[in-house]
């Protein structure tokens, strides 16, 4: 991951010569695709002056922080998850007494950066400990667990452990890293039928950038890629701690033929690398089409053009012609998303009405855009409604947002609302490869109209159990609670359609077996089931919340998310982590989840929010003073100026009007 210049500066601060990182340990425990990650760092101010020590951890965006503790010279700050407004209120109160400082979470592409900084006198010992949890998502046949390692300097005790336990067995485990090929052989993998352990423990000498360097070469990503053994097409049903999980990931089924309309933004902002990479990706995507597939291409700026008015088969003749067309496009002008999407729907409708679409095929629109609408209908809510109204149940919309100038939330919303998925593509990365990868994820639909059922008497609190499509290499997950019963097994059914048949799959599980196995495992993630169920439920509710049709419904969902987040100690978009000093609860730090950068909250955050610890007085009192107040912590009586809001200098979630704090537009 690339750091922003601001992060670079901050990173520079912690690599000063008078700071010793005594140990840096990362431990992941993955059980049934659910990971609990702990990052621990022990640091000493070994200089002669007081100075700032920062703790930065990059965590995947889909992860939820579950705890953070900090110990400074024996004084412990303990984290607890609170409802966001309450946390902010408590924090504001502490801040008014100069007893608070911020922990900042910032966005960085697929990652969020959790960062805190303490100002400590010489000789101080600081221990940081961050916990987060995440569900491994299967993509293109693998679960990928990435750990972002930035110890900042050479560390005498540096260790990464990843423990994986999968009840059904581990089919393969492989590792990769971005620090350098010399580290490949230092990453040791041991695995048995159902367990794997990855350990990376380089010595100080091995951490060096070169033989005599004092810099650490470890600055990047360690990735563990694995897949599980699947001996049943029906999927895997697991029960632990009265929660059940059903994983469905069949392979060896023929994919549905596809009817795809590619809708490509060719407005002025696409000019240059973005367009070049889009063309490059489209070349490969078009090559993947078969004669059974049908496709169309619509390119749009302020005008909308169709390469061909109707869908055509994916023969080499047509794909070659389509490639030439795309290669000749010169981006310019505005962005008329609404009309482009309407034309795409019409193209599919026409094919449908003329009976040119195989009843067992999948119809999809893939929208590639890098910016907000500027021409035609520009109101996002109206576009959203128009699309929903125009789309048939049989069609789905997939959105690809290139770069940060696009309202990704909007693209995600319209995709989710229309049975599709969204993906952000980072223009500064290999965009063509990212686009191709996304296409591969959605280009092989194996099942459609999937419904997972259990008897009402056996389960409750079931997460999403109906899915529009299942794509090759991915996985559908359903979770819920098992109701008490005499039975020692749980069974369920899945119905679905494939490209040439209808299926009913039956699955069953012994409700005690997994817990018996877990009890024998030393490194499994204890209590994973409860957390995993909550994680899935919260993620689902967050999705539902953004699509809630009424304010009342939204409020209800909000309450449910908050309640679950508090019960399960997750920092979600509606909760915050309040870190308080055991000895003096008024001393506190606050970690909120960041918003999408398009909303302007995070890239401008100062790196100076920090806790200052003066030399420990004889009486043992230590207090925290924020030397400079983070500007997102504006007092409620001081509303931001319109220009601040416009420039995105103020977190929209904290915009205050007449002393009333508006939270997440609820």
């Amino acid at each position: 991951a690339t750091l922003t210049s601001e992060e670079q500066e901050d990173f520079g601060a912690i690599t000063g010569q008078d700071i010793t990182v005594k140990s840096y340990k990362v431990e992941s425990r993955i059980t049934s695709r659910f990971a609990h990650v702990t990052v621990r760092s022990s640091v000493v101010n070994s200089g002669t002056k007081a100075q700032s020590i920062a703790f930065n951890v990059q965590i995947p965006k889909r992860a939820f922080i579950s705890n953070f503790t900090m110990n400074v010279n024996g004084i412990t700050f303990v984290g607890s998850v609170k409802e966001k407004t309450l946390a902010r209120k408590l924090y504001a109160r502490a801040r008014s007494r100069n007893h608070a400082a911020g922990i900042v979470r910032t966005n960085s592409q697929d990652l969020e950066v959790f960062k805190t900084e303490v100002h400590v006198p010489p000789g101080s010992n600081i221990e940081f400990e961050l916990h987060y949890q995440e569900m491994m998502e299967r993509k293109l046949g693998f679960y990928e667990h990435s750990l972002y390692l930035q110890p900042g300097r050479l560390v005498p005790h540096f260790q990464v452990d990843v423990y994986i336990y999968e009840q059904n067995g581990i089919a393969s485990v492989e590792t990769s890293n971005t620090f350098g090929t010399q580290f490949a052989e230092l990453i040791k993998v041991t695995s048995t039928k159902d367990k794997a352990h990855v350990v990376f423990k380089p010595s100080v000498q091995q951490q060096r950038e070169c033989a005599n360097c004092t810099n650490s070469a470890i600055d990047g990503e360690l990735t563990v890629k694995y897949d599980v053994t699947r001996d049943s097409t029906s999927g895997e049903l697991q029960v632990s701690d009265s929660y059940f999980f059903y994983f469905l990931a069949p392979s060896n089924l023929s994919p549905f033929p596809k009817n795809i309309v590619f809708v490509i933004d060719v407005s002025g902002s696409m000019w240059g690398v973005k367009m070049k990479q889009t063309v490059e990706a489209m070349r490969a995507i078009l090559d993947d089409l078969t004669v059974e597939d049908q496709f169309g291409i619509i390119d749009f700026n302020h005008n909308v053009r169709c390469w061909n008015e109707d869908l055509v088969p994916g023969s080499s003749l047509h794909t070659t012609s389509a490639k030439s067309y795309i290669e000749s496009i010169k981006p310019n002008g505005g962005t008329n998303i609404n009309e482009a999407l309407m034309r795409a729907v019409q193209m599919l409708m026409r094919a449908f009405n003329q009976d040119l679409i195989n009843s067992r095929s999948i119809s999809m629109i893939i929208l590639v855009s890098d910016g907000d609408p500027t021409v035609g209908e520009i109101k996002l809510s109206v576009i959203q409604k128009n699309i929903k109204r125009a789309m048939r149940e049989e069609f789905s919309l997939f959105s690809v947002g290139i770069g940060f100038d696009v309202d990704y939330d909007f693209l995600e919303r319209i995709a989710m609302e229309n049975r599709g998925m969204a993906q952000r593509i980072y223009a500064n990365h290999d965009a063509a490869e990212q686009l191709r990868t996304f296409y591969h994820q959605v280009s092989s639909p194996l099942l459609s109209k999937i419904a997972v059922r259990f008897s009402d008497e056996s389960v409750t609190n079931v997460t999403q159990s109906q899915f529009d499509k299942y794509f090759s290499g991915s996985e559908l997950v359903v979770a819920g609670r098992v109701l008490p019963s005499e039975s020692s097994s749980l069974s369920g059914y899945t119905s679905a359609s494939s490209a040439n048949m209808d299926l009913i799959l039956e699955m069953d599980a012994d409700i005690h077996k997994l817990d018996e196995e877990l009890a024998k495992q030393q490194h499994s993630f204890t209590g994973f089931a409860k957390q995993m169920w909550a994680y899935l439920t919260i993620k689902q509710l967050i999705g539902e919340r953004s699509l809630a049709p009424t304010a009342a419904k939204k409020r209800k969902i909000t309450q449910r998310i908050i309640s679950l987040s508090l019960d399960h100690q997750f920092v979600t978009p509606l909760t915050a982590l309040l870190v308080t000093n055991d000895d003096d609860p008024t001393e506190m730090l606050l970690a909120d989840s960041p918003m999408d950068p398009k909303h302007g909250c995070c890239s401008a955050l100062p790196a100076t929010s920090r806790v200052t610890f003066p030399p420990r007085p004889p009486g043992g009192m230590v207090y925290a003073t924020p030397p400079s107040r983070p500007h997102w912590l504006l007092p409620a009586t001081q509303p931001p100026t319109p220009s601040q809001v416009k420039k995105g200098e103020v977190d929209e979630t904290l915009v205050t009007t007449n002393g009333v704090t508006r939270v997440d537009e609820d």
């Binding site: 699947r230 097409t233 392979s251 089924l253 490209a499 048949m501 209808d502």
Partner: protein, 244 residues
Amino acid sequence: PHFIIRLPRSNMDVCFNIDSKPGHILNLVSDIGTGVVVNGQLISSKKVHKDKLKTYFGVVSVYYQPEGFSVTVSTDRITTTDGRRSNVFTWGSTAEITHDGVTVSIVKNAQATITINNRIQVTVLLHRVWKKHPVNVDFLGVYLSNSNQYSPLVHGLIGQFSQEPEVRVYGVHEGADPLKKEATMEVKGNKLLVTRGWQKDYTWDRKHGSNVYCWFIHNSGKGFIDGHYSDYIVPDLDSFLQLP
């Protein structure tokens, strides 16, 4: 493999073995009237035991020509194909698959039943053995219901008995083995020396099977089946029997 033919009118069971070569595909049912063909491919035991290399059904295929749809059941997996598209199911699944008029019901690690238009049903039983067994291998058993509604054109090692032949058994006497009586059977104009014995039917008890007492026809069913067993060897899993 051994064959047990139930003859309801005569109220008797007749058995025979066919010991062909591993890899050979035997036609069990060939019905050009309904477009259904059932074939079984032979596999052998791991090594010669008591001077004999046993053969079993390792793959059973049911092909329904009108839909161009085939179900191939092996000891590893169940594959359905409709020409261009194929889908693979593991024996670890319990599933019901429907393709137009064909339904495939898989019972996890036990059996697969293929039903065509609710008229013809073929059940394939999976027999798993200890993986490290020095001789035995996993094999399949095929069960075809007597109530299957074939066309009058049906033939094949089993299909030919959908029209039950007249069978008369007489002259029951002690055989060389005092436990096995012998007799003469008159069938299809042939007089055959038959031996009383039993074979295993695993329909109800998949593990131990149940004994079915039957009259055993020697020489690979010679005289009881039409022609020679080698006449039933077909080139492909979806081949119909070529009648002379």
